[in-house]
């Protein structure tokens, strides 16, 4: 199998035992491609990115041609596709690395005690803090969770326990899926239109943000809770019924507690998904420099809107505010990551217990 290039006639004769490239062939091809590209690039004075692109092209062409010569057309295609798959994975991950690097690099300079405990009230020409934005984000997201979790969980209970096969449940399930695709800005406009009619034109306050975010959050909560409730073994329910426990009590005392950790995981992921939303809050919550802890009155700052505002409209001290925007972006990413990790940890806590 590891014979080196046999004569073409020989190859045709031994079609079932085709010669193969050595196992480390892709590695060789990669090294050669990068070296050739780097050499070419350095003589012509390219940057890192063109060198990387040309290296990838060299690699794709080189390995495929090599395989075509030594192996056969089918193997060459296979190798080409394999290489393409890996190249596409690399291309997909480069921006992620670049983005995280940039945020950490630019943001770390902004972090200090004042950054997290001060607001921007009366702050001119010096770095202030994002306390007001953090509090706003937490309160608005909390409001969204308070609205979404009961509705989402109860709807999931309906889908799994009561409606199961009814026409209504099928529609709810389907439209909930469709709802996951509602653009966030549309949710913001909805909340704005709603409160314009109820409270008065142009109303901007925190709870509106909670309503807008819950439009985005409910579908996620419903779907994840539904999955979790479905995982609860029917035996548990039946055992409970056998003991004479009514259905609603069975659901509240047996089914939901069993699925609780999974549901909390789902809710945490849903929170992580909406906590970074900017567009709806821009429209319905507005922005302010000061701490506002009243969800029902006055504009409320939030981290994403603060980032957007400070970066795009920094005013007369652009360096300071742009750095604060990066710092706030770093904090926001950290919060989202922490929520994701928390969700994973909760999921782990739960998983050994189901065993399907």
């Amino acid at each position: 199998m590891t014979d080196l290039a046999p004569a073409p006639t020989e190859r045709a004769a031994r079609s079932i035992k085709n010669p193969r490239l050595p196992q480390y062939a892709p590695l060789i091809a990669l090294v050669v491609a990068v070296a050739a590209s780097a050499l070419l690039g350095l003589t012509l004075g390219w940057g890192v990115i063109p060198i990387g692109i040309v290296a990838a092209i060299f690699y794709l062409i080189g390995l495929t041609t090599w395989s075509r010569i030594i192996e056969n057309a089918r193997a060459a295609t296979d190798r080409l596709v394999t290489s393409l798959v890996w190249v596409s994975l690399t291309i997909a991950l480069i921006p992620l690395v670049s983005l995280l690097w940039k945020v950490i690099d630019e943001g770390k300079g902004a972090l200090n005690g004042k950054f997290l405990t001060y607001s921007m009230r009366n702050v001119i020409g010096e770095p202030g803090g994002i306390y007001h934005a953090i509090m706003g984000t937490l309160l608005i997201t909390l409001a969204a969770a308070v609205i979404s979790v009961p509705i989402g969980l109860l709807a999931a209970v309906y889908l799994v326990e009561y409606g199961a096969h009814s026409q209504l449940a099928r529609w709810i399930r389907f439209l909930v899926d469709v709802m996951t695709g509602i653009p966030s800005i549309v949710a913001g406009l909805f909340a704005y239109a709603l409160f314009s009619l109820i409270v008065g034109p142009g109303t901007q306050f925190g709870i509106g943000g909670g309503v807008a975010l819950s439009i985005l959050m409910i579908p996620i909560v419903v779907r994840s809770s539904e999955e979790m409730l479905k995982l609860v073994p029917a035996d548990l329910r039946e055992a409970s019924y056998a003991l004479g426990v009514p259905k609603w009590k069975t659901i509240l005392k047996v089914v939901i507690p069993t699925a609780m950790a999974g549901i909390i995981t789902g809710v945490t992921l849903a929170i992580a998904r909406v906590i970074g939303e900017t567009a709806p809050l821009l429209i319905i919550c507005g922005a302010t420099d000061s701490v506002n802890l009243n969800l029902f009155h006055g504009q409320m700052a939030s981290l994403p809107v603060f980032i957007y505002g400070s970066y795009t409209q920094p005013g007369s001290n652009p360096e300071i505010l742009k750095q604060m925007a990066w710092g706030a972006a770093l904090i926001l990413i950290l919060i989202v990551m922490a929520l994701n990790i928390l969700a994973r940890v909760l999921g782990k806590l739960f998983s050994p217990k189901t065993g399907h």
Binding site: K114, T117, Y118, S119, R121, N122, V123, I124, G125, G128, G129, Y131, H132, M135, L138, L139, L142, P201, G202, P257, T258, M260, A261, I264, G286, A287, T288, D289, S290, V291, L293, G298, Q299, T312, Q313, P314, G315, S316, P318, L346, L349, F350, K353
Partner: protein, 361 residues
């Protein structure tokens, strides 16, 4: 099961409790201090051009009167006036004086309980024509040349029209990218007003807060314009925010004048106030075509709008705050923080006396 529940519930509750505990206290810089006896909150909204200056004024006033909160929402001049008329806010800031044709004066009058609203200039800032061109650090432009560049009639830097104003300057043959504001803006309104009046018919669009053309690069906000000025670009922006960018001098009479606070103040001084207005309305008819030496007629004059009377709780705060805005201290604070031009002394005195008439109902 219950153990699982408890295991996750306990930290959850702890986190919630912690969150609430933290939220109970304010930010480190927002302590309840003491100062004057004034207490209360007033709200304003409007011009985003005045935002930096408002920050300075609010900081200054709130520091002296720590019981007072002045909120300001830079939502745009139009939105500010509208909210003021609706009674949603206590004062407005606008980049253009109340418009009689749009019924704004009457609407403001009925909002103020039948009395004419007060309107005084509070913020004057030159608008700079900024550009970036390698090897050219001084550029003279006439209004009509600027108009043709932004209109797409002049597309190369070495165009004869530019060369005439810049003898001896080695202009490259590269393409010009004009940069304009993508959002509604008082800066755009004043810039287009200047072009329509001073460019000898080379600019055929009316003055508007929305950029009238669909060409060139669009950027959001003054900062967006500044960030979008790369080699070969030209744009317009509030002079206080141009930073390291090179600015063009504009032709006034036979001379070329670079943007400066003094130049804008001088141009403001030669502009008459609108005498068709009611008493207490200090609207200015800006003279864009002045030939006064050293005057820089491409500037933005922005106003604060308030009622002559308020209820007891607010009258002193509005009066106090707006007095600070037009005071020498306030104008100096705005000049150092926002780079605006302090109001000329005569105008400042007039404005202060108008604000001084604010009283409790």
């Amino acid at each position: 099961m219950n153990r699982t529940l408890r295991r996750v519930a306990a930290p959850g509750i702890a986190a919630l409790a912690l969150g609430l505990a933290v939220s109970a206290c304010g930010a480190g810089n927002e302590s309840d201090g003491s100062g004057s006896s004034l207490k209360g909150t007033i709200a304003g909204a409007g011009s985003s051009a005045q935002d930096s200056a408002m920050k300075a004024w609010r900081a200054g006033y709130q520091t002296d009167n720590s019981g007072v909160t002045v909120n300001y929402n830079p939502s745009g001049s139009g939105a500010g006036v509208e909210q003021f008329v609706d009674g949603a806010i206590d004062f407005a800031a606008s980049d253009s004086a109340l418009d009689a044709e749009k019924g704004e004066i009457d609407a403001a009058k009925s909002r103020c309980g039948g009395e004419n609203a007060l309107e005084v200039p509070s913020y004057v800032s030159p608008i700079a024509v900024v550009y970036s061109l390698d090897g050219v650090d001084k550029l003279n432009l006439s209004a009509s040349t600027i108009a043709k560049i932004f209109d797409g009639k002049i597309t190369k830097w070495n165009d004869a029209a530019i060369a005439i104003d810049n003898p001896g300057v080695d202009l490259p043959g590269s393409t010009i990218t004009p940069v304009h504001r993508s959002d509604e803006s008082g800066t755009t309104k004043n810039f287009t007003d200047y072009l329509s009046k001073a460019a000898d018919g080379a600019w055929k669009y009316p003055s508007d807060k929305v950029w009238p053309l669909k060409s060139g690069e669009a950027a959001n906000g003054t900062s967006g314009v500044i960030a979008a000025i790369k080699s070969g670009s030209i744009g317009y922006a509030d002079e206080s925010q141009v930073g390291d960018l090179t600015v063009a001098s504009i032709k006034v009479g036979d001379a070329y004048v670079a943007p400066s606070a003094e130049g804008a103040a001088k141009a403001l001084e030669v502009s008459p106030t609108d005498d068709t207005r009611a008493e207490g309305d200090l609207a200015i008819k800006v003279d864009r075509t002045t030939t006064e030496a050293g005057a820089y007629p491409l500037f933005l004059a922005s106003y604060v709008i308030a009622c002559p009377t308020y209820d007891k709780a607010k009258a002193d705060i509005v009066k106090g705050f707006l007095s600070y805005v037009v005071s020498t201290d306030g104008q100096a604070a705005a000049a150092s923080n926002a780079g605006s031009a302090p109001l000329p002394a005569a105008l400042q005195t007039k404005a202060a006396s108008i604000i001084n008439t604010i009283a409790a109902k």
